[in-house]
């Protein structure tokens, strides 16, 4: 109740210039009270809600508001307050003094909860990053992480994981990611000891991001395979994990697993996370090309992604046609995009797929074609195209990509006739797998049915039952009469 009184009195003395900030300040104070109740009741849900509400306020944060909030939450002159206020820029001394004067006179001295302190750290950090003051953000985040090491409360975990994220972000934006790798590993160890699952998840993702930033796929995979796995607590962290997993699998040439992970990540990601979904889609497209399948046009036409995916669209076109020259020109044209996406090495691997597709087209269209012509059509620009073409065709036949034989003496390739597929068991097998899938889906849906919990309580009283039976009898008689009348 005292808080309400304070909130009403504070807006009155403030100047007109700060008229917008009171509402933000009020929001922040509401969030602070939410955190307090959550901490006292040990309910993590409230803290999660508090964090969500903060994210909504992100744009409206200003230095004055933050100072005022700091004065409210932490008693000014106390050590945490000084530490935090040091990070904020000293704008507009007058406003601050005015606010401090009023709030000091009215707010009682309180012991700041650790949760509140960490929350203040979080606010200041978000503000600094949004203002692009990265080196200060770095200092602030290091201080907060040092503070966190001493705290061991479950209610702080949610705020802590957010802090770790911004800690890593501030270092990444200044290009110093390698420095904090040791710290992140130590924090992950601590989180595991304390059974802080959300923290573990966040830190694992941050570590993977750290390794992948420097292309250390080997170490990333070693960490990922040894780290404890459990049910995902946060959808966003799960999406990130799937994305990093997909990337690692792609580099290790396990394309099927990679495709699954990347597509899942792209699907689960929230619609607002456009940049993330674009990245997922880029990698997913390349993995599908490497697997030999061509992604449909609708993938490239998703809302907001057309421009970003344009280079990949042209690349897919080149692979689909099977034209090496076109492929080379597209790769050169967009080489800067590809290097910034770090997909350059994967594109180089695609060359092999281009040749295969071209070869498949040729083998389907011609029943017999000389190897020199094959080399010309594939536009193999090497020293000895005919011999190259011969070996390439031989390997393709061995891998089962095309159905043909080579006649070495005459130097041509003879395609085999593809038999009538309906006379084999193939359609039956395909149908069977689809039927099984539909039936499984049906069974799962039935099992997932939920009935409203009180439906079985309504029992018919004897009266109602008699009434119902009477009605049924009348109806039956009626129908019987109607039948007779029909004649």
């Amino acid at each position: 109740m005292t808080e309400d009184v304070e909130m009403k009195e504070l807006p009155a003395p403030s100047n007109s210039a700060t008229s917008s900030s009171p509402s933000t300040l009020n929001h922040l104070k509401e969030i602070a009270s939410l955190i307090e109740t959550g901490a006292y009741a040990r309910e993590v849900r409230r803290i999660v809600r508090a964090v969500r509400l903060t994210m909504a306020l992100r744009r409206k944060l200003k230095a004055q508001v933050l100072c005022a909030f700091l004065n409210f939450a932490l008693s000014p002159g106390s050590e945490p307050h000084n530490r935090l206020a040091a990070h904020l820029p000293k704008e507009d001394e007058h406003e601050m003094e005015f606010d401090t004067a009023t709030s000091v006179s009215q707010s009682p001295v309180k012991h700041p909860l650790p949760e509140l302190e960490i929350y203040c750290y979080l606010l200041v950090l978000i503000y600094l990053i949004d203002q692009k003051k990265y080196s200060e953000a770095k200092a602030c985040s290091s201080a907060s992480v040092a503070r966190l090491k001493n705290l061991n409360r479950r209610t702080v975990d949610v705020l802590a994981s957010r802090l770790y994220f911004y800690y890593s972000l501030s270092y990444e934006l200044t290009g110093d990611l390698a420095e904090i790798r040791g710290n992140l590993l130590a924090l992950h160890r601590i989180a595991t000891l304390r059974h802080d699952e959300l923290g573990q998840e966040t830190l694992l993702n941050l570590l993977l991001r750290n390794y992948l930033h420097y292309n250390l796929y080997d170490q990333a995979e070693k960490l990922r395979s040894k780290a404890p796995r459990f049910e995902a607590h946060s959808n966003q962290q799960f999406c990130r994990y799937l994305f990093y997993l997909g990337k690692i699998r792609t580099i290790q040439l396990e394309y099927t697993d990679a495709k699954e992970s990347l597509l899942q990540a792209a699907r689960k990601a929230p619609v607002a996370a456009l940049g993330f979904r674009v990245q997922c889609n880029k990698w997913a497209i390349i993995v599908r090309l490497l697997l030999g399948e061509i992604p449909e046009r609708t993938v490239f036409m998703q809302k907001g992604m057309e421009n970003a995916l344009r280079p990949y669209f042209e690349l897919t076109n080149a692979v689909r046609i099977g034209d090496l020259e076109l492929f080379k020109s597209v790769a050169e044209k967009f080489s800067t995009t590809f290097s910034s996406d770090r997909t350059h090495n994967l594109i180089v691997r695609l060359r092999h797929n281009v040749i295969r597709t071209g070869l498949r087209n040729i083998s389907i269209s011609y029943s017999r074609i000389s190897l020199a012509d094959v080399a010309k059509k594939l536009r193999l620009d090497t020293a000895n195209p005919v011999a190259d073409a011969e070996s390439i065709v031989a390997k393709a036949i061995r891998d089962g990509a095309i159905d043909a034989t080579i006649d070495h003496a005459n130097g041509w390739m003879v395609s085999k006739e593809t038999g009538d597929i309906y006379s084999t068991n193939e359609p039956q097998i395909a149908f069977n797998s689809r039927i099984a899938f539909c039936l499984n889906m049906h069974n799962d849906a039935v099992r997932a049915l939920r009935f409203p919990p009180n439906s079985h309580k309504e029992k018919e009283s004897a009266e109602k039952r008699r009434e119902r039976q009477q009605q049924e009898q009348e109806l039956a008689k009626h129908i019987a009469e109607e039948d007779d009348d029909e004649f």
Binding site: N215, L216, Y217, D218, I251, Q252, L253, E254, S339, N345, V348, R349, R351, H352, I355, T382, A383, N384, A387, D388, S391, I392, V393, A394, K395, A396, I397, R398, A404, T405, I406, D407, H408, A409, N425, Q428, N432, I435, A436, L439, H442, N443
Partner: protein, 267 residues
């Protein structure tokens, strides 16, 4: 530290001389002694302490390991190569900021890539490739390995074998020989499926043997199912056409019964 350093340097000189002389036994003995002495230095990985002689010690240790790698190639010991290379790697990655670049760095990196290719560890090959900067990729040693891998994947094996002539360094020969053997097996496998028959001279050419006898010996050892008739190698015996394919009746019955059961469940 200084007397230790001078001792190591002297031993290192003797080791280098032994390698040049192609005296592998002395070389190996000296190498083991050198490795033991290197553990005395505190500035090396994993400690990376900052002693006054740090740069000197790091450079010395790096040179020692580079020579160890080259020695293992001479002996033909791939495990020793792997061990020494892993010990050498931190010098290239973590200490690269403090030391002047080594002249043999790219050659050894290229050798490692080639080794992974020969051992068919393609996933690790690509992982290593990711770690290289774009400038490294322009280097002829590395480019050679990358193009080799591409030709191998595409199946243009003749390019692989002709690349043997264009090795940048003589030390690559060992791995190229191993690669040639792998390639030959691959070509044999492909030819089996792709050709119905090949004349002896053509077979000899594609499999890159220098004489017919070698070819016949190879066929007898590796592929006894190939027939040799009238100067022609026949790869697949004519298969008798399967008269009537069996209908997998049991499987079909099971499937249909499961459909019936599931459909009954639908209320």
């Amino acid at each position: 530290m200084d007397p230790q350093l001078t001792e190591v340097s002297q031993l290192f000189e003797r080791f280098k001389a032994a390698c040049v002389r192609e005296d592998v036994d002395t070389g190996s003995n000296l190498l083991s002694k050198l490795k033991v002495m290197l553990t005395g230095f505190r500035s090396l990985p994993p400690l990376f302490e900052d002693t006054p002689n740090a740069i000197h010690e790091l450079t010395l240790a790096r040179d020692i390991y580079e020579h160890a790698v080259l020695l293992s190639v001479k002996i033909g010991d791939q495990d020793a190569f792997e061990r020494d290379f892993f010990q050498l790697k931190p010098y290239y990655t973590d200490a690269s900021g403090r030391l002047p670049p080594s002249s043999q760095e790219y050659m050894i990196l290229g050798l490692n890539l080639l080794r992974l290719l020969v051992q068919n560890r393609i996933a690790e090959f690509h992982t290593e490739l990711e770690l290289l900067s774009p400038t490294a990729l322009e280097n002829p040693c590395i480019k050679h390995a990358v193009e080799l891998e591409q030709s191998f994947m595409e199946g243009a094996y003749n390019r692989v074998l002709s690349a043997k002539q264009t090795v940048p360094y003589k030390t690559y020969d060992y791995f190229m020989d191993l690669l040639a053997k792998t390639v030959r097996d691959e070509i044999a496998g492909c030819s089996e499926k792709a050709y119905d028959y090949l004349s002896i001279s053509d077979a000899r050419q594609t499999l890159l043997f220098s004489s017919d006898d070698e070819l016949l010996q190879y066929i007898n050892e590796e592929h006894p199912e190939w027939e040799i008739k009238n100067g022609v190698v026949i790869f697949q015996k004519a298969k008798e056409s399967a008269p009537c394919k069996e209908i997998p009746s049991l499987q079909l019955i099971n499937q249909t019964l499961s459909y019936a059961r599931e459909l009954e469940r639908i209320v």
